[in-house]
Symmetry: C2
Subunit: 388 residues, 2 copies
């Protein structure tokens, strides 16, 4: 799958970002707009304390049509009660006014600290005149939604005459089970609403829902797709395959930029009894602090792989048929450690991408989870994260 | 509940520890012996890759009688195949020979690196003559089973004319769901086997099974109790209450000495719909990296408490009835952050023990989980843990 080096927007989409005074420095407000109504679908966090924008977003998405997304960083508008929901509505209304559309065609996202009142007045002022800033570079919008991300994240790819563009943010409080970060997908392909919704859910299932930076599930996660139809119909299969590949690629980018991360970890589980078990065991591997620190320390302490598999108590696991490898080098066979060249495996663990593979030998299901190593940088970011 | 400052053994129990050459420095072999057959019960790890000593231990415990426990540190004898099980049997036989009992009356434990052959010859040599070292101080045995523990761990308390003594080790790869470390309990009370087994299981359920240092579940965890009857019968209720209190206290000691830990975190959940949900939510709090780093940084970023509760997707949670406090200071009411004195709460987070409490308001079940903060010390220990 080919992704454009300099990401571009599909026809009709543009974005802008500004500093409206929420952050001392840097962009804190982003606007993504289509010049025509777009068929839309979205999935939201399963956390039982969803933020006000998620509560409003579920209502907005009932219409199935969007013209814009407005998002702020720094304050997440979560655990803010009735006033928080009012503020999310005011944010949608202000963006709609600026773009000349209705508030129920605007999806709102907020990301940042939980439990602080949203400075809605600053956002309303910031949106004034923002439509004149709209431009063609997706990275401009991506910059407006960053929190602890170290770089703005956008991708694009072609499907026939159409383009798909992904814009995302997220580096901590990331274990999906849903989107688990902000990820927006824009396309000018013409797709009907039912198909769009189904394709988004399937793509998220294989990508963002297999991402875990720290096993914590945000209260704000949102993944939305907008299709404005300007490029006409494209091959459904090609569109779906590209959508999945881009979501997987963006998942890898998010994992690699996890808070403090120095490595992307891909954990592939094969031969599982069911899809669900393959997914749970793959997640257990990328969530294990001992596996994560093993990668960080480039220390092939391979017993930790068995430990992380074996703690999935309720899964079908047969030690005698369990094999494992690190970056293609076999380290476990039949549930026991095998002799391997320690220096070579240690060396491969220093690669930017570390591939762990476990073959369970009890079925035919497989899954891949995406994570990162656990470093002192994670602790620096989260022990000092400003909450006041 | 009163625990003796200098822990003592019940009548008839003694212990010894030695360096038998597994570690470069420090004790690596421990022997605990009763001078008469003791009624015994044990629970073992639920990890699906149990070590050879756990496989053998399950067989040994069918007899329900023990005279001794022999344990080594440094090498865990896990993922070692048929040779590993042979070596565990040889270790039991060597201890039995030294003590003049039979191998099926000796429980074996090994703790340390996974996937390395057990140097059984060194252990056999080390056991020779060890019965002459047996002495009355439980801390001597505790020193022989330490891995990354920063101090040996033993407690004792009186019940009528009897004594109960706890000896334990464990600081990483600790999330029970079973014992999740090595914990041995010795008593001279006379108790029948069925009651002893039931009381151990109930005590472990409320204590060691609510402990999580890092959410990883060891392949070696064992908790055993030996009752040699020298003190005769004691009040059942008083014995059980003391057993539970000592197991909880030892759980707190283990959590506080978690790898790199600087704080003990106790997470109390009240008003849950069921015991199981109370336990899951309490565990979610002590397992959340963001809650752990919040405590480490003494930063009352209270939204993280709601996040950790809310990610228990399948539990009964009503945001409007959810309250939370930190060290007794209310920080969340009705699912929203409430105003609190940031400086005071920040100050209490610097205490050695941090108490988090969440009241769900949806039922009457409660549970407490025990954990610790996440620090750079954890990463230092686990990124560099010697595996070769």
């Amino acid at each position: 799958m080919h992704f454009d080096e300099a990401p571009a927007f599909p026809r009709g989409f543009r974005c802008a970002s500004r500093n409206c005074g929420l952050k001392a420095d840097g962009k804190d407000l982003a606007l993504f707009a289509s010049d025509a109504d777009a068929i839309a679908a979205a999935v939201f966090t399963r956390n039982r304390f969803p933020g006000a924008p998620v509560i409003l977003g579920r209502e907005t998405m009932k219409g199935g049509v969007l013209r814009a997304i407005v998002a702020n960083s720094k304050v997440s508008n979560v655990a803010t009660g009735a006033e928080g929901l009012d503020n999310a509505r005011r944010m949608a209304a202000a963006a709609a006014m600026e773009l000349g559309t209705s508030a129920d065609h605007v999806l709102v996202s907020s990301t940042g600290v939980i439990g602080r009142r949203l400075p809605i007045e600053k956002i309303e002022s910031g949106l004034l005149g923002m439509s004149s800033d709209l431009q063609a570079d997706p990275l401009v919008g991506a910059a407006g939604i960053m929190t602890t991300d170290t770089h703005p994240k956008a991708l694009s790819a072609r499907v026939g005459d159409a383009t798909i563009t992904w814009v995302a943010k997220g580096s901590g409080m990331i274990e999906p089970n849903m989107a688990t970060m902000l990820a927006y997908v824009f396309t000018d392909a013409e797709i009907d609403r039912t198909a769009l919704d189904r394709m988004l859910r399937e793509a998220v299932h294989a990508s963002f829902n297999m991402l875990s930076v720290d096993s914590d599930t945000s209260t704000s996660d949102t993944c939305a797709i907008l299709a404005n139809g300007h490029a006409g119909r494209v091959d459904d299969r090609a569109f779906f395959d590209t959508l999945v590949a881009g979501c997987v690629r963006m998942t890898e980018i998010l994992a690699r930029d996890g808070e403090g991360a120095e490595h992307l970890i891909r954990a592939r589980v094969r031969g599982a009894a069911s899809d669900d078990e393959a997914r749970r065991i793959a997640k257990s591997l990328v969530n294990s602090p001992l596996v994560k620190t093993m990668v960080h320390g480039a220390d092939p302490n391979v017993g930790r792989l068995l430990m992380a598999v074996g703690k999935c108590f309720d899964c079908t696991i047969a030690p005698e048929s369990t094999d494992a490898s690190i970056n293609g080098y076999p380290v476990v066979a039949g549930g026991a450690r095998v002799a391997f060249d320690d220096a070579i495996v240690r060396d491969t663990l220093r690669r930017d991408i570390v591939d762990l593979e476990v073959s369970l030998g009890v079925g035919s299901a497989s899954a891949t989870a995406f994570g990162c190593d656990l470093t002192k940088g994670y602790i620096d970011e989260n022990a000092a994260y400003y909450s006041s």
